[in-house]
């Protein structure tokens, strides 16, 4: 030990720091800081990027004390099921306290990436004014802000490189936020406002694009017509990533012909998305750039027919990431399988949530893809039906899955051919895919599938369960078997107190556990909270008037509708609303 210490002391801190610079993974840096005090110290002061998977696991003060020189922060707020309306509005996940604390401590913040957080205009304004070197803002599935907040960012962040808004709920005040980028702003590299509903000043956008010569990624919103797209492409043929706005026009018009020519000149586009409101007959305009595309997202375009989709896809031989709607059909997936030999990630979203039509894909499409695309490692597949035989074939064809998410439109549909549960199929997947880190199961499932998951899914970090299992045994198999489990979310499944309380220490090795419409009682949750002080066990009632009253009348023997527990270093949160009770 002494010899080691003295050898290490030969290296001045700058050298250590330089060596640590090569460590980019958070896990590696965390490991390094455990070696000895001097490494801890050097790492602490040289850490620039911090990832916090649950904003309530720590607090801003501790973050700043631990990493005083941080420049880049990733924060995640609400539990995943909040995306599907299972978490009441106003549950929490506010970013303001973080921005306020960092501003007070003069953190030199340059990058902020937020997911499922509540971002107020006030926080955006504070952000814009407090960090002179701020460069990059990425908001995913957030809410709480309006275009006024965006205007503050545009006006004040002199060196802004990236403004990326993905699937947020933004209150569009139809202001001129885009016009707030000053004429002196030439630093933009990436601008994505596809999720905004309101109009933007097209002329201001064209001028902005013209002066930002480093612009590589641009995603327009629905309100911008084809004419504007055409003008922009003429100004910015260097784009790598393009999100069209609306893509509908008379294919015989001069504008459209000009667009086709502009597209031909965009030799660098590798990623294409948008097509919000599209006329299928306009799609051929993008054929010239399809050959080099590695990413294609057509999942916001329910108006494109299957044959138009497949005609387009036949041009896309180098696609690695494809997001589409189930309007493509099984046959269309067959075309993908024959054409896209480089495919790594496929997402097939449902197009028909309201029962208007019949478009859907089945197990056939999935099998075709698994047979034709040897590099496939990540899938999200919404389908009408599934069979064990198909899943077993898929498992054989694709042992390299890292992420496997299957979602049957009817949550408890059995094997379409045999009427059996889908246990064997998912069992084959976990047995074959030894590197699987994320899994979502659906369809009719018994405890058996969880036995398989516990036995084989050794690398599993995130598991989503809905309407599955028969008894506590199911949940126990998972808790006992999956050593690397970080996030477990369960809804509408018959798991109860016995499973919840069997291994309480397990939850400190995980980020969080969500259970809704299960069989756990208030008493059991209280027991858990008492025994495990470093967990926050939240009971969430519906956010209706008088919810506090209703919940107060809950007896220990009553079932809890929604429970969310997570490990934390800072005790119960202080911003919990009435309908959230931390035990």
């Amino acid at each position: 030990m002494c010899l080691f210490q003295s050898v290490m002391n030969y290296f001045p801190e700058e050298v250590l720091e330089h060596v640590f610079d090569f460590l980019t993974s958070h896990r590696d840096r965390n490991a390094v800081s455990l070696v000895c005090k001097s490494w801890y110290s050097v790492e602490k002061f040289s850490r620039k990027k911090v990832f916090i998977g649950n904003c309530y696991a720590v607090n801003p003060e501790r973050l700043i004390a631990r990493f005083p020189r941080l420049r880049s922060l990733i924060l995640k707020g609400k539990p995943h099921f909040a995306d599907f309306n299972l978490v009441p509005h106003d549950w929490g996940g506010h970013v303001y306290p973080w921005i306020e604390a960092m501003a007070k401590s003069r953190i030199n913040l340059e990058e902020l990436r937020l997911k499922r957080m509540v971002v107020s205009d006030e926080s955006l304004k504070l952000l814009a004014k407090s960090f002179p070197n701020f460069k990059s803002l990425v908001l995913v599935s957030c809410e709480g802000f309006t275009t006024n907040g965006l205007a503050a960012i545009a006006s004040n962040c002199k060196f802004l490189r990236e403004l990326d808004l993905q699937e947020n709920e933004v209150d569009d005040r139809k202001g001129h936020w885009l016009s707030c980028f000053p004429e002196s702003c030439t630093s933009l590299v990436s601008l994505n406002f596809a999720c905004l509903k309101g109009e933007v000043n097209a002329a201001a956008l064209e001028r902005l694009v013209a002066r930002c010569r480093n612009l590589r990624s641009l995603r327009l919103n629905h309100a911008l017509p084809l004419e504007v797209l055409q003008k922009i492409l003429v100004q910015a043929p260097q784009l790598n990533d393009l999100g069209t706005g609306s893509f509908t026009h008379d294919p015989n018009s001069e504008t459209f012909i000009k667009l086709k020519n502009a597209v031909k000149n965009c030799h660098s586009i590798r990623s294409l998305s948008g097509f919000l409101d599209v006329n299928g007959r306009c799609l051929p305009a993008v054929y010239p750039i399809c050959a080099n595309l590695t990413a294609l997202n057509l999942s916001y375009a329910p108006g494109i027919f299957s044959n138009e989709l497949t005609k387009l896809i036949r041009h896309c031989k180098k696609i690695e990431r494809l997001w589409i709607l189930d309007t493509i059909g099984d046959k269309g997936l067959g075309v993908v399988a024959n054409t896209c030999k480089e495919l790594q990630e496929l997402r097939v979203f449902p197009s028909d949530l309201y029962g208007v039509g019949n478009a859907a894909v089945t197990e056939e499409g999935l099998v075709a893809i698994s047979a034709g695309c040897p590099k496939l490692n990540s899938i999200l597949y919404f389908c009408q039906q599934m069979t064990n035989a198909a899943l077993i074939t898929v498992a054989k064809n694709c042992p390299n899955f890292i992420r496997f998410r299957l979602c049957t439109l009817n949550p408890i549909v059995p094997d379409a051919a045999t009427n059996q549960p889908l246990d064997e199929g998912f069992g084959a997947i976990v047995q074959s895919c030894k590197g699987l880190t994320r899994l979502s199961v659906s369809g009719q499932l018994t405890d058996q599938v969880f036995l398989y998951i516990g036995m084989y899914a050794e690398q599993l970090e995130m598991l989503s369960i809905a309407f599955a299992g028969d008894s506590d045994k199911g949940m126990l198999y998972v808790l006992n078997g999956c050593k690397k489990l970080k996030k477990l979310e369960i809804r509408d499944s018959p798991f109860g107190n016995m499973a919840l309380l069997s291994d309480m220490g397990k939850y400190e090795t995980m980020r969080s556990l969500w259970m809704s419409s299960c069989q756990v009682t208030l008493g059991a949750c209280k027991t858990l909270a008492e025994k495990m002080p470093r967990l926050n066990v939240e009971i969430i009632s519906e956010n209706e008037g008088g919810a506090g009253e209703v919940e107060a009348r809950l007896d220990d023997r009553d079932r809890v509708e929604k429970m969310y527990l997570y490990r934390t270093l800072v005790g119960p949160r202080t911003d919990a609303p009435d309908f959230v009770r931390t035990l």
């Binding site: 599907f84 499944s493 109860g496 069989q519």
Partner: protein, 176 residues
């Protein structure tokens, strides 16, 4: 005790007890559909609820749901739907894309602006009675119908062309 029930061996379809939990979590609009408690394991799969009536299923983000909802409301096929619109006394016809609009109000506003006329307010009993002009359309059967009677989606799919009639002529259509 819930736990002993949960681990009890039974011959029923898996998930028999889940029906209770499911109903609690489902929105009020859903009619109660207790799971079939027949002991026959070969039973046809039970459907717990119609699509989109189980809260949060299928699991898609609201952003995506909103996009699909707009599309579902406005059209059953994707391409534009241009129909000819004539107005009594106008020298030439116009064409509008019905898919561009999502409701009657927007359509009528657009027509009034395009033809510089006033169409007035629709009522089920009086049609556009009292207005200078009344909008009519030819449906798939070749009949001339008053705009506004049927739900919007039905109108969009059945409308072949439109004619803005002089109010005096339209009175015959309006009073039934």
């Amino acid at each position: 005790m819930e736990t002993s029930v949960a681990t009890e061996l039974r011959l029923g379809l898996p998930g028999r007890d889940r029906s209770e939990a499911k109903i609690i979590s489902v929105s009020n609009k859903r009619s109660s559909s207790e799971m079939d408690d027949s002991c026959d394991p070969q039973q046809e799969s039970v459907v717990p609820a119609q699509k989109a009536q189980v809260v949060g299923w299928p699991p898609v983000r609201s952003y995506r749901k909103n996009i699909l909802q707009k599309k579902a409301e406005s059209s059953s096929d994707g391409s534009a739907m241009f129909v000819k619109v004539s107005m009594d006394g106008a020298p030439y016809l116009r064409k509008i894309d019905l898919k561009f609009y999502t409701n009657y109000l927007d359509l009528l506003k657009a027509l009034q602006s395009m033809f510089k006329c006033t169409i007035g307010v629709y009522s089920e009993r009086e049609g556009y009675d009292g207005s200078e002009f009344a909008p009519t359309y030819e449906d798939k059967d070749g009949d001339w119908m008053l705009v506004g009677d049927v739900p919007w989606e039905m109108f969009v799919t059945s409308c072949k062309r439109m004619r803005i009639m002089k109010g005096s002529e339209a009175r015959g259509l309006g009073c039934l």
